[in-house]
Amino acid sequence: MNRIKKNRFKDQAFKLWGIFCTLLGIVLLSIFIGSILVDGIQRIDWDFITSLPSRKAERAGIYTALMGSVWILVLTTIIALPVGIAAAIYLEEYAKKNKLSSLLEINISNLAGVPSIIYGLLGLEIFVRVMQMGASVLAGSFTLALLILPIVIVSTREALKAVPKSIRDASFALGASKWQTVSRQLLPASSGGILTGIILALSRAVGETAPLIVIGALAYVPFAPESPMDEFSVLPIQIFNWISRPQHGFEINAAAAIIILLFITFVMNAIAVYFRNRWQSKFK
């Protein structure tokens, strides 16, 4: 009996420990965000968003970095989306079980685990040097597109997998070809899931810093990019640059810029979760 009481006690103790662990990360993050808000919120105003970078902390703004992030986001989407979705369709709907498909399978799983900075080295050599794009928005977008490609492929495949087999059967039975089935039935049916995956991939891209530093994106760019071949900065690099300055004013700038970056990231995640829930309820 004593033993059983002891077991019960351990069980309850673990439950409390479990709750503690579950909340630990979230609480720490909340405290941190809270302290950043305190530091940075009063720094955020229209001037901060529309000003060019400056050597003086109180005059510096994030305009060029923000525009750089927008450029990167748009171009990365344009490059990664068609390739990623097409690859996923091939693997999920066309590929037969053979050596090639299992090689593709292993390869994609491996690419998803390659550190982002390695993509930076790839981009530096291939896009910046060999293809002579220089440290341009285009080179950055190509680099990030390759980085998020595995994420887009994996999530698109999951979305296609969730479409019931009966829909495929019904379409084929009516005499539809494979591509007709894919384009008219499967893609519309899985669009919510695909969209979720893409938004999550892009939210990853918008927060990436290291690969863009490696390809040579700059911390100080006097003008927002006007063409894909222009030099650029992005929000995370601007933040990194401000963090590494000794003056306190820049730390406040960094906090303010982090608020904006986190806002963008969280909004993208919220949209993704919204689409996922709406889409999942469709199949239940």
Partner: protein, 264 residues
């Protein structure tokens, strides 16, 4: 008040091992058991029969509180074991389940060795004495007639056994902790006829020492091995009597319809 009621029942304790009093079970808004009173006798085999969804498995699982983990589960009324209310506040559920063993529909050995499977219940009670454990494992496996088949392979994975052997192992695992009651939820429905016959034989032997409640889809089985049979329909207990009587001369028309195969 309730305590008093419990005490009034004490004279029948010995005979009535398990008692249900005005038991209702809800899953959220759905009423799965609609008020059942029932007394189950000690050292007998009681069979629960009825069509799918009639509530017989839900009712069985009340006796070791396995429904506690089901989302939206709620119960009214009382379940008594040896006169003690097992749904009262301070009951120790783990202790209860040692007293009330359960065998499931599909054999579900742990992915461990045969030895570890049988010793599991003792080990979680903190028993570490190797020779005691060894004796107990051997003893339990002998009780289910598995010892001679597996004594060479006692440290091999239980998953390598056949389905029938696995189910007997699961029974041995239950016996090792010395329960007084064994609940069986369609224990042979996933097995072939030969394994089924072996298990039925085993159940029949076990009633010397244990009170056994068995849910079955198979009416021949209920007729062959049980002393008492209860027929459930739509969450109600329709008829409950000696098996001989219920299968040869049921009181209720619904029971007759069911046992003669007119529905279900």
């Amino acid at each position: 008040m309730k305590e008093n009621q419990d005490k009034i029942e004490t004279p029948v304790r010995k005979k009535h091992k398990l008692q249900a009093k005005e038991v209702k079970v809800f899953y959220d808004d759905f009423m799965a058991i609609k008020g059942i009173d029932m007394n189950i006798r000690a050292n007998k085999i009681t069979a629960f029969i009825g069509p799918s969804g009639c509530g017989k498995s839900t009712f069985l699982r009340l006796f070791n509180r396995m429904n506690d983990y089901v989302d939206g589960f709620r119960m009214e009324g009382n379940i008594l074991i040896d006169g003690e209310n097992i749904y009262k506040k301070n009951i120790n559920v783990e202790q209860l389940r040692k007293q009330v063993g359960m065998v499931f529909q599909k054999p579900n050995p742990f992915p461990k060795s045969i030895y570890e499977n049988v010793a599991y219940g003792l080990k979680i009670q903190g028993i570490k004495d190797k020779s005691y454990l060894k004796d107990k494992v051997e003893d339990s496996l002998k009780q289910v007639g598995l010892w001679n088949e597996v004594k060479e392979d006692i440290n091999k994975s239980a998953l390598a056994l056949s389905g029938g052997q696995q189910q007997r192992l699961c029974i041995a695992r239950t016996l090792a902790v010395e329960p007084s009651i064994i609940l069986m939820d369609e224990p042979t429905s996933a097995l072939d006829p030969i394994s089924t016959a072996k298990i039925e034989e085993l159940i029949y032997e076990l009633k010397q020492k244990y009170t056994i409640v068995i849910v079955t889809h198979n009416m021949q089985q209920a007729g062959r091995i049980s002393d008492y049979t209860a027929f459930f329909y739509m969450g109600e207990l329709i008829e409950y009597d000696k098996s001989k009587k219920l299968f040869t001369n049921p009181e209720k028309q619904q029971t007759e319809n069911y046992i003669t195969g007119r529905f279900g």
